[in-house]
């Protein structure tokens, strides 16, 4: 087996370094190809490692590759090392794979941007950080990756820093993530205090030494960190705003990889959840609530990317639901499948935006299927996949989550099922508005002439992702024990703490059929309302009006509420309390400083007096010691 995990983050890191220094010289498009190449190389190494690992027996598939000791100070021995096991390898594979495809796509998407090289600098740094996050063998090192991806995320959200919205979106993401990071840090303190180690394998091995209370506290704090990073209630509103960044960024960071880091963290620390009490329930409820809330919001948005963004929040909610009900494999399964179809949707949306010269309002689009057949097909594949139409990927992945939810608690399943209908609906709504109906862009003069299909460099990734989104379900098929590849692959890591569904084969069939029916209902609803009726909108004005009312209500309740919360955080907590404390302390110190500086007269004789003063003081102490 290949023991060279350090190469995986090293390649993008090297790419980052080279592009940071020589980026402008290398220029367009070579810089992009270079960045793509480094990520592809990481992917290749991951594949080789996988091949090696498959050859090993299941019990030998986990190893820690320690590079060196980072902090060798007293009790705190932090080692820089990589924990390679089936779980982290799955993450590495899909992170590098999807990243490579999105890098490739970006070469075309960013071709005309001034900050072309700068974009790939950040993107490569992001991939390196993400790989450190998923492979780190030590929580401190994980945190380095955690902060690294956050940093890249702010940089990339604010990539077009001259847009005020971009700048403020970056700020919002920053604040909400800080709340989550505080949770991560506190969790580390709690764990270190109790176990005197921060090495992940050591923590998991010594969980028995933890009191239930400590475990619960640590698990809740880690979950807080996860809600920040993964945009769950209550820290979810930064993600839709983050759509101000370039679309490949939305696909890579804010859909496929970084935002799922919270889920990964939960799965990685799943034995800790097992040890804690009631934390799993909290996670499940927060997850399913987020899924429903976000899905309802998504049904009313008019920005092509915001619909997908809320959809992302909703899908991650499903993943947390899976974590909460103990279906860790299903969470990872959905994460991978989601990475495929969600980045496909984002990239298709990017293609649309590209073709319409940066127009993002779907109400100004329409009838695009004639002009962008490739994009149309890709978007449709993504839509049907996310809707859960059999046999596309989400049908299997989401189905697995729902089966476990059903077996855990029927209430969770009901909410999840309702969300599934919404999911099929909102994505269909967007699909029909964008690709069918009037060519509103013509009347509104969004562009001159006809929209153009994207170049091959962008279509290639769409094709690859379409295929993956369609067949992603093959990863883990139910019904037969020999077909659940992912479950048996991950069994050494999460098998012992996973809950097994008590549904049975018959029940699984029934639930699968129910899922299909729900998907069809959602699709039909969208078709009925936005394909059939859209042409005759005046026929059902009342319903449309109601729809808008719903939009406003949700907007008020959730978006505004979220904004108010963010505003509260930003204006009151951040500005008044934190800044106030900081500035108050600062002005106090400044006052002290200006007082003290009066001693500093500039006269040598004064300085000499200072020396003598100190001398007399020390001598006085010595007199005391000598007992004079």
């Amino acid at each position: 087996m290949l023991h060279a995990a350090y190469l995986m983050p090293l390649f993008p890191l090297a790419g980052f370094a080279v592009l940071a220094v020589f980026g402008r010289k290398i220029g367009n498009p070579l810089a992009g190809w270079l960045a793509t190449g480094t990520v592809t190389a990481s992917f290749a190494i991951a594949l080789v490692t996988l091949a090696g690992m498959i050859g090993e027996p299941a019990s030998h598939r986990s190893f820690v590759e320690t590079l060196f000791t980072w902090i060798p100070v007293s009790a705190l021995h932090v080692q820089v090392g990589f924990l390679i096991d089936p779980l982290s390898l799955v993450m590495v594979l899909f992170v590098t794979g999807v990243s490579a495809v999105i890098h490739w796509y970006s070469i075309g998407y960013m071709a005309h941007d001034e900050g072309y090289a700068r974009f790939f600098v950040y993107l490569n740094l992001f991939v390196a950080s993400m790989l450190i996050l998923v492979m780190a063998s030590n929580l401190v090192f994980t945190f380095v990756g955690w902060e690294g991806v956050g940093l890249c995320s702010y940089f990339l959200i604010a990539f077009w820093y001259d847009r005020p919205a971009a700048a403020s979106a970056g700020k919002k993401a920053f604040i909400m993530n800080r709340v989550g990071d505080a949770g991560f840090l506190l969790a580390m303190f709690v764990l270190f205090n109790a176990l005197h180690t921060l090495s992940i394998p050591a923590i998991l091995a010594h969980l028995g030494d933890l009191s239930t209370g400590t475990a619960t506290a640590a698990a809740l704090l880690l979950f807080l960190a996860a809600t920040g990073k993964s945009a769950q209630i209550p820290l979810f509103t930064w993600l839709p705003d983050a759509m101000e960044g370039p679309t490949p960024v939305s696909a890579l960071i804010h859909a496929a990889t970084m935002v799922t880091a919270g889920v990964y963290l939960m799965v990685r620390m799943s034995p800790l959840l097992h040890r804690a009490t009631d934390v799993s329930e909290v996670i499940a409820i927060v997850g399913v609530a987020t899924a429903l809330v976000a899905a309802t919001i998504a049904s009313t948005q008019n920005d092509i990317k915001k619909v997908i963004a809320y959809s992302t929040v909703s899908q991650i909610g499903y993943m947390f639901l899976a974590v909460g009900v103990g279906a860790y494999t299903a969470a990872i399964f959905l994460m991978v499948a989601h990475a495929f179809y969600k980045s496909l949707l984002f990239l298709s949306a990017g293609s649309v935006i590209h073709g319409l010269h940066d127009e993002q309002d779907i109400k100004k689009m329409g009838g695009l299927r004639k002009f962008m057949p490739w994009t149309f097909a890709a978007f449709m594949a993504g839509w049907l996949a996310i809707a859960g139409v059999p046999p596309l990927s989400a049908f299997w992945a989401k189905g697995a989550v729902l089966v476990h939810a059903f077996s855990y608690d029927i209430g969770l399943w009901i909410v999840g099922a309702i969300t599934a209908v919404f999911t099929a609906y909102y994505m269909g709504r967007e699909f029909y508005i964008v690709f069918y109906g009037d060519e509103r862009w013509r009347r509104l003069e969004v562009i001159k002439g006809d929209p153009h299909e994207s170049p091959w460099v962008m279509r290639g990734p769409l094709v690859i992702l379409s295929v993956l989104a369609a067949i992603g379900g093959l990863l883990d098929l139910p019904f037969h024990p020999h077909l659940d590849f992912l479950s048996s692959w991950l069994a050494p890591v999460v098998g012992s703490v996973s809950r097994h569904s008590s549904v049975g084969v018959g029940g699984e069939w029934a639930l699968a059929i129910t899922d299909s029916v729900l998907a069809v209902i959602g699709v039909t609803l969208a078709w009925r309302l936005w394909r059939v009726t859209a042409d005759a909108r005046h026929l059902e004005p009342a319903f449309l009006q109601r729809a808008w009312l719903v939009d406003e209500t949700y907007d008020k309740i959730f978006a505004r509420g979220g904004e108010a919360l963010a505003g509260f955080l930003a204006n009151v907590v951040e500005a008044k309390i934190i800044d106030g404390a900081v500035n108050g302390t600062a002005s106090g110190l400044r006052w002290m400083g200006s007082g003290l500086r009066r001693i500093q007269t500039g006269y040598v004789r004064n300085y000499a007096i200072g020396i003598v003063l100190g001398l007399v003081a020390i001598l006085a102490w010595m007199l005391v010691r000598a007992g004079v």
Binding site: N583, A586, R590, S594, R597, R598, Q600, T601, G602, Y603, V604, R605, N606, A608, I609, V612, L613, L615, V616, L619, A620, M622, L623, A626, G627, V628
Partner: protein
Amino acid sequence: MHPGLVPVPLLATSLPDAITFAVSAVIVIAGAIGVVVARNPVHSALMLVMTLFGVAVLFVEQRADFLAAVQVIVYAGAIVVLFLFVIMLLGVDRREAVSADPLPWQRPLALVLSFCALGSVLALGFSGAWSTGAASVTGALPHRAGDTAALGKVVFTTYLLPFEVTAALLVIAVVAAVLLVRVPQLREQGGQAGAERGGAAGLEGDPEAVSDPGVDGDPQGLGERDREVVPS
């Protein structure tokens, strides 16, 4: 460890010795004060000669004849004469412009502190006693054959390296002298914002006044300048 140690009280010598010590000590201290106080640099130099002679007498009293001779020949003879040459070359009449002391509390405070320091050191010195009963463990030299040989011995054994390394100090002094006497080509005015500043500088200048307060480079309004200008 130190078998030769004998408890030696401070004034356990003969009366003539004590008187010699007292007289030369007064000469040394008076000379030192004179060096600082005298307005005329020639007087200062002569006071220095007085001090050095006093020290030479103290050396003799401690039977450090060689040191006494060196003291007189090298310091009083050569070095102070060199000082005098320089002073004469630069002009004797040039007097320091000593204005009123801007810090009236400075002198009394310095006096008080100095006496505190002196008193503490003396008190500590008298308070101490080792198990041998001595305040000091360094008695007389083991061989009373004069200090020249003893000095020669330590200089080439125990203190060989320090002795050799002292040469570096002399080289530094030479380089420093060359550097300091070289007439600086003053920088041309113009172009540089700070070129015309620095009026308050000099030995006793106010360092805060030297820098340029003009630019507002502060994001948070920190560090508003509340410098006080001390007349000099």
